[in-house]
């Protein structure tokens, strides 16, 4: 039952064990499994109430709790009840507090806050902070909020006294800012000032204060932080603390002064100077240099299209930003946000090999494969079809299928009940990961485009009924300063969702079952419904076209006529020519994506038509067969033209590099950057080579 994540089965098995062998352990298992059912999405509302009640009625059979884990289990069951009284009573009972358990302590505070029992919230938080001497910000925050809600002089005085006593600790000082934010803007300003004066030298200071500072007078705050920038000797000899204050101040400028035309220039000049600083020279190789954030800010400022002193032409913007980031990466090998941005931007301009280099430097593995591989592998089959990274990424899902159920069983046996729900959820999220679905589809498409015959690449059409789970992390690219809209803008197409996966699964299934009429019709109908009824935002225009083309092919398979084939040929060629337009000035992921889909669609079309002719043999109307031959010839001509254009692009590569280097070198922004650690011409040449590799693979595809 654990292996198949069947919670109903687990509950039935546990109940049977408990009834047949009334051991304490089996009663606990029954309670756990009832709880899991009550919180699952496989039960009705009535069943949810039933299993909650059943679990709570079994609790007395295993009291008193013998371990903290059993106490957590009881608390989780009590959480399911309609009112919180029993839960709060249990959590605040001294016998429960004696377990000294973080899970119970967290639940206690949460339950009290939800119940609005502010006196208890205040007193519990004060106990945590003052009596137990545990410096927990959540307790600070809730205590401050409770004091405000209560408006009680005694408690307010106690809070202020503790804040003053602990104002030199980070949590205490930040709690002071939070409390001030509940009072007035002026109080917030003063508290934030105090915080920055004492903790501005820490990298996290900007993140800590960001949300509070946005409500303040921007110019007043910026003037204050600028005053904090001091150097004992000089900027070129800045210490780590001095660099941190400087960079934090610049982050506030980024946040609050988005119209400053000199922002990028200033950041670049500051970065150059800091390359000789003690902070940079003395850092360990495995440490980050915080000054890199000056370059990340400059890069994202440019990408966002904010004002600059000397404008950058659109066609050169991304390459300029790449140069900025490559400079930072060459000086600081382990700064992962720089490398993630480089991976993203290289893919954006269709230079996969360069993206791969930075992605590999991040050494992403195991669970990260599910969460982060999208940075490299989004739409990889249509940018630069590549086999190895795809295959290695899929291992995590096989591992999950074996390891997670095994450990869920271990959790039942060891009595770590606080972990059961989390592990079950973890296993399900990996098993139903949308990234997994995407990779399965992409592997098949890569094999097709590269002409590889790979075993074990079948796609189970039942998969499309999966409720796909989103585990991918897009926000890691935000860092401190970029916004979600920026990450959106430079994404490789719309986010591929469960709809995308289902549509492509149907497409692959139709292709696999093309010659089995009833199955082909069934899946074609399902695909048609999907295209008509579902939200198609996750598909690019050319992806939609390719799916619609497949449906037309399916119709021809049902009833091919001369006219029908002719119409198909016309719409197919029109689509191919529309989407395969050559962009000479700036290659991009979108262009490669369109070209590969056009060629892939041509492959599928020709293969399908050939298969039909082979099946019909001599029985079919000779004129239909002849019209199919003409269609194939027309398609082949367009594909040949595409390949020829790709070849011409490749032959013009040297000129492209020279022109690009000349244009980029003349940009004022670049002239300000110390690029001594990189070779710009070589870098641009590598970009070209990366794009050429995709062009070569395209030209080598066999229709």
């Amino acid at each position: 039952m654990c292996t198949s994540a069947d919670v109903r089965g687990q509950q039935k098995a546990a109940m049977s064990l408990q009834k047949s062998f009334p051991r304490r352990q089996y009663t606990l298992w029954t309670i756990v499994s009832c709880y899991l059912l009550a919180i699952s999405d496989v039960v009705t509302t009535e069943e949810r109430a039933l299993f909650s009640t059943l679990a709570s009625r079994l609790i007395p059979l295993v009291e008193p709790a013998r371990t903290a884990e059993e106490a957590v289990l009881k608390a989780r069951v009590l959480e399911l009840l309609p009112t919180a009284d029993q839960l709060i009573s249990f959590l605040c009972d001294p016998a429960t507090e004696k377990w000294n358990n973080l899970e119970l302590a967290t639940m206690r505070l949460d339950a009290l806050v939800k119940s609005g029992n502010w006196e208890k919230v205040f007193d519990t938080s004060m106990t945590t902070l003052a009596t137990e001497n545990r410096d927990d910000f959540e307790s600070w925050k809730q205590m401050a909020y409770a004091a405000t809600k209560l408006g009680n002089d005694e408690r307010t005085s106690a809070l202020i006294e503790l804040l003053e006593k602990r104002c030199k600790t980070r949590n205490g000082a930040l709690a002071g800012v939070y409390y001030a934010s509940l009072k007035s803007t002026e109080a917030t300003f003063n508290a934030a000032k105090f915080y920055f004066e004492n903790f501005g030298r820490q990298q996290c200071a900007f993140d800590d204060l960001k949300s509070y500072v946005e409500a303040l007078d921007a110019q007043k705050w910026l003037a204050f932080v600028d005053e904090q920038i001091t150097f004992a000797k000089s900027m070129e000899h800045a210490t780590q603390n001095e660099v941190h204050i400087l960079v934090n101040a610049r982050k506030f400028h980024y946040l609050l002064d988005p119209d400053d035309k000199s922002f990028v220039d200033k950041n670049i000049l500051l970065y150059n100077k800091l390359l000789t600083s003690l902070a940079f020279q003395d850092k360990l190789e495995t440490d980050y240099f915080y000054g890199d954030d000056l370059i990340i800010m400059a890069a994202t400022w440019l990408l966002q299209g904010r004002p600059v002193s000397s404008p950058v032409p659109d066609q050169d913007l991304v390459i300029l930003v790449i140069i900025l980031l490559e400079t930072a990466a060459s000086n600081d090998k382990h700064q992962f946000r720089v490398r993630l941005w480089l991976t993203r931007l290289y893919l954006y301009i269709g230079s996969f090999q360069q993206a791969l280099g930075h992605y590999n430097a991040l050494a992403i593995k195991n669970i990260q494969m599910d969460v982060l591989s999208h940075y490299l592998l989004s739409r990889v089959s249509t940018i630069c079809p590549t086999w190895k990274p795809l295959i290695s990424t899929r291992d995590i899902y096989d591992s999950n299928a074996v390891q997670t159920p095994y450990h869920i069983k271990k959790i039942y046996e060891s009595g770590a009940f606080s972990q059961v729900a989390g592990c079950m959820e973890f296993g399900k999220r990996l098993s139903d990961s949308v990234n997994k679905g995407i990779l399965c589809v992409e592997a098949k498409r890569v094999a097709r485009i590269l002409g590889m015959k790979m075993e074990g690449l079948g796609i189970n059409p039942i998969l499309r009924s999966t409720k796909w789970k989103e585990n991918r992390d897009f926000s890691i690219l935000y860092g401190s300063t970029p916004e979600e809209t920026l990450e959106n803008k430079y994404r490789i197409g719309p986010i591929q969702t469960g709809v995308w996966v289902n549509a492509l699964i149907l497409r692959e299934t139709i292709i696999d079952e093309f010659l089995t009429a009833d199955k082909r019709r069934e899946y074609a109908l399902a695909l048609k419904e999907l295209l008509e009824k579902q939200d198609l935002q996750s598909l690019t225009h050319v992806e939609k076209w390719s799916l619609e083309t497949l449906l037309e092919l399916s119709s021809i398979a049902d009833s091919a006529t001369v006219d029908g084939v002719a119409v198909f040929q016309t719409t197919l060629i029109e689509g191919m020519e529309k989407y395969a337009k050559l962009e000479e000035t700036s290659l991009s992921w979108e262009w490669f994506h369109s070209l590969y889909i056009v060629v892939e669609t041509a492959m599928i079309s020709i293969w399908s038509l050939d298969s039909l002719v082979a099946i019909w043999g001599t029985k079919k109307n000779g004129k239909v067969v002849a019209s199919i031959a003409a269609c194939k010839k027309a398609v082949q001509t367009v594909v040949d033209d595409i390949k020829e254009d790709a070849k011409k692009l490749k032959l013009r590569r040297d000129k492209w590099v020279r022109d690009c280097v000349k244009r980029i070198s003349e940009l004022d922004i670049l002239k300000k950057l110390d690029t001594s650690s990189i070779d710009i011409e070589y870098l641009i040449e590598r970009i070209g080579r990366g794009q050429d590799e995709s062009l070569t693979i395209l030209r080598n595809t066999k229709i």
Partner: protein, 180 residues
């Protein structure tokens, strides 16, 4: 700001700011889940106000008799949140849990003998070198194996401080002597 939170398996999807760091190992699923299954209260994290994980501790309890102890398996803090006391917070909580409910004699960890930064940090926390484990870390890229320091801090159960010694840097043992 720092809030301590218990760690659950689904948090493994949220540790990228920590685990993208070059020094942080990304273990396989089995490793993480085995710790959650056996020592759930010794695996916890710190979060910032936005609910993002900024660091975590993986600990365990092992040993027999007077060698019954808590152990730091993995302590990792996101680069943006270093040098603000998060490591201290995480270690303090592990010490607290190792005392109650585990009632351990001491807390220990292994650190590369060349890692002066980590050694200095743990010494500030009250740890001392108990012994040098010769060749504990296998060498990468053709380098020789590196020694580890087994650093310990006695907990309140060890009233006579029997779990620590003077001059532990020169007390050499082999890796096989360490495994219980």
């Amino acid at each position: 700001m720092t809030s301590l939170k218990p760690f659950h398996a689904t948090d493994l999807f949220r540790v990228n700011a920590v685990n993208l760091d070059v020094l942080t190992e990304n273990y396989n699923i089995s490793f993480y889940l085995s710790y959650l299954a056996q020592w759930p209260s010794l695996f916890f994290s710190t979060e910032n106000p936005q609910g993002e994980i900024t660091g975590y501790m993986m600990g365990k309890a092992e040993g027999r008799g007077k060698e019954w102890h808590g152990h730091v398996t993995c302590l990792s803090v996101a680069a943006d949140y270093r040098r603000i006391g998060l490591a201290r917070t995480l270690v303090d909580n592990l010490e607290r849990q190792s005392e109650d409910p585990y009632d351990a004699y001491f807390l220990d960890l292994f650190v590369r003998a060349s890692n002066a930064l980590a050694i200095g940090m743990y010494k500030k926390f009250g740890y001392s070198v108990y012994r040098r484990v010769v060749g504990y870390y296998s060498g990468d890229d053709g380098k020789d194996n590196e020694d580890a320091f087994d650093m310990r801090k006695p907990l309140k159960r060890d009233k006579n401080r029997e779990s620590v010694r003077e001059d532990g840097e020169n007390f050499r043992v082999r890796p096989e002597d360490v495994y219980l």
